[in-house]
Symmetry: C2
């Protein structure tokens, strides 16, 4: 089960969207962007107050299902959408686009969503993607990272303190590093098609990227 979740960040930063997702979920303005791109819209979630009335009409016409959230709430629309999707499809692979490139408070909310206990256990099935970057998330353990063909750089961004960080099969390696605060080990590179990472505590965002 492959799910696309389209948040409201600038459409100019979106990657090319494949048309073989099993479910297309639009989050607020993301619903309108899916409509603009000619993509399906299975579920639209949001308060939709970022859309004018014509845009709302377009979205509501296209959406198979609309879930209206209150304008003032504790959760963001992306949190609501993710919770809804995981409740119904806990094993799905979820790709989130439109989560980068605009307001940085929004981006950080999206990046850190996996630190919440309700989402952390699912983090290895969640990906944030834009034209230049793919962000995957790792829980403690031993992992193999497979190179994306169009990406040049590899980074290990420790979102929390991380224990015993070991990086192998990459240009720069680490051996049992104790990471005391969030740190971006940026600009690493694959040596072959796969790289290795092991750690015993914390959550890591693995970012594959290319120059713009």
């Amino acid at each position: 089960m492959n799910i696309l979740l389209a948040a409201g960040g600038p459409i100019s930063k979106w990657p090319d969207i494949e048309t073989n997702y099993d479910l297309y979920v639009g989050v607020d303005r993301g619903s309108f962007f899916l409509q603009q791109k000619g993509l399906p819209l299975d579920v639209a979630v949001g308060d939709f107050d970022s859309l004018d009335s014509q845009e709302q009409t377009d979205v509501f016409d296209l959406a198979k299902k609309v879930i209206t959230s209150p304008a003032e709430k504790d959760d963001t629309d992306t949190q609501l959408a993710l919770e809804m999707v995981l409740k119904e499809y806990p094993n799905a692979k979820i790709t989130i686009v439109g989560s980068t490139g605009g307001r940085i408070d929004h981006f950080l909310a999206n990046l850190w969503i996996v630190l919440e206990p309700r989402f952390a256990k699912y983090c290895q099935n969640i990906y944030l993607q834009d034209r230049q970057n793919t962000i995957a998330f790792l829980l403690p353990g031993e992992h193999t990272i497979t190179k994306e063909v169009d990406k040049q750089y590899l980074a290990y961004c420790c979102l929390t303190p991380v224990s015993d960080l070991t990086l192998t099969k990459s240009k720069y390696t680490l051996d049992n590093q104790q990471v005391l605060y969030p740190t971006s080990y940026a600009s690493n590179e694959f040596m072959g098609s796969q790289a290795g990472v092991t750690f015993s505590k914390g959550i890591i965002a693995v970012i594959q990227s290319k120059d713009g």
Copy 2:
């Protein structure tokens, strides 16, 4: 003493740059962007291997001083530049542009630079800025945040666990919240020209932003 530090992120995301900085420092490709914008270039720092030979010539012609870093090193060029600037001007206000909008591993390295013990004590003098966002950093204590006239939204992004977070004089308030992991309290708003924030432990990024 007001210092502009221009990193190599996309020039399309830069804010309008004032011409009254006391020192203009270019970091690698940021030096070339300063030259392109017709701005001064007092110091150019970097390995400059992201520039072709004509771009290098242009930069070296304009720069009053060039500091060449090795291509493979532990610190990023931005870390090197910041360390150099703080050594000479420990009380300067430092505005960093070109730190957002491209590769996310670079952005996170720039965002988290203030968590390093060597930089943390200076964090309240460091600002990251682009067209849509201004990021300031706070150490524990009682603070007053002054609204920027062109910004609509206010966010408190806890880069670390934060103790006793209290938000006042804003649309959404908090009272002695214990924040256990990095969290973006996004989309808050000023009620007047100033908002209040108090906390006893951790580091917070305060982001003022506007829609794109």
